[in-house]
């Protein structure tokens, strides 16, 4: 899961070296904290959060098999 988010985010930005995805496991859910270079924020958020929402939907689908709740947070 982490590798999928990491792959997609790195492929979307201009500075893939600055991408950092951290997995924070809680009891009920897992949160993936996504950090990118300041100049790349727009590329992972998109207009009206369209890209960020797509990342969330994809993460949810990919986690469905494991029946776990996942959240994707983009940390500015």
């Amino acid at each position: 899961m982490q590798s999928l988010i990491e792959y997609l985010v790195k492929a979307l930005v201009d500075e893939p070296d600055q991408v950092n995805v951290t997995e924070v496991a809680q009891e009920e859910a897992t949160t993936y904290e996504v950090r990118v270079a300041p100049g790349d924020l727009g590329k992972v958020i998109g207009k009206q959060g369209r890209i960020a929402n797509a990342l969330r939907t994809v993460a949810k689908a990919a986690a469905m098999k494991h029946k776990r709740k996942v959240y994707v947070e983009i940390i500015a």
């Binding site: 999928l4 792959y7 890209i51």
Partner: protein, 163 residues
């Protein structure tokens, strides 16, 4: 831009761009850690139709169109960064697109019948561009109704109105 826009004339992606597109999808599938792999099913104009196949498809991508649409959006954004021509991916899984197209076409025909009977406009729920196009296409040859879209993405809806 019209949803019904004809893309048939669009240029077929070069073999190199097709290779880049398939490689992208291979990498995405590998990154999921699931038993999923991409298969190129058809090339229509500048659209590459790719089906996700494998044991894990049904449980994930094949179940909700939302997930498939989200993955398609992200893959198209990434692909646009890697190729110089206008190549678009249409992702499918578990035959979802075809089944969905059939459902949308039936809805369009049913609504058109009501619109003619009542001589009143009908409005569909918000749909993504490719699904709106299915509605427009289903009714394009019906002389008694016309279709158009209203609103801004992602709340853009098709209206069917009597002519």
């Amino acid at each position: 831009m019209s949803d019904a826009q004809d893309r048939e004339g669009a240029q077929t992606p070069s073999p190199e761009d097709q290779r880049i597109a398939m490689q992208l999808m291979e990498e995405v599938c590998a990154a999921t850690g699931q038993r999923v792999r991409p298969v190129l099913r058809a090339v229509q104009g500048n659209y590459l139709h790719i089906e996700l196949v494998g044991e894990d498809v049904r449980a994930t991508w094949g179940r909700m169109g939302q997930a498939l649409d989200a993955l398609q959006l992200l893959c198209n954004l990434i692909l646009a960064r890697r190729v110089t021509t206008d190549v678009r991916l249409v992702l499918d899984a578990n035959n979802y697109r075809e089944r969905r197209a059939e459902v949308l076409t039936q809805r369009a025909l049913e609504l058109a019948r009501e619109v003619k009977e009542r001589q009143e406009e009908a409005e569909l729920e918000p749909l993504p561009p490719h699904e709106r196009r299915i509605i427009h296409t289903a009714l394009i040859n019906d002389p008694e109704v016309r279709t158009y879209s209203e609103g801004e993405e992602p709340d853009r809806r098709v209206i069917i109105s009597p002519r």
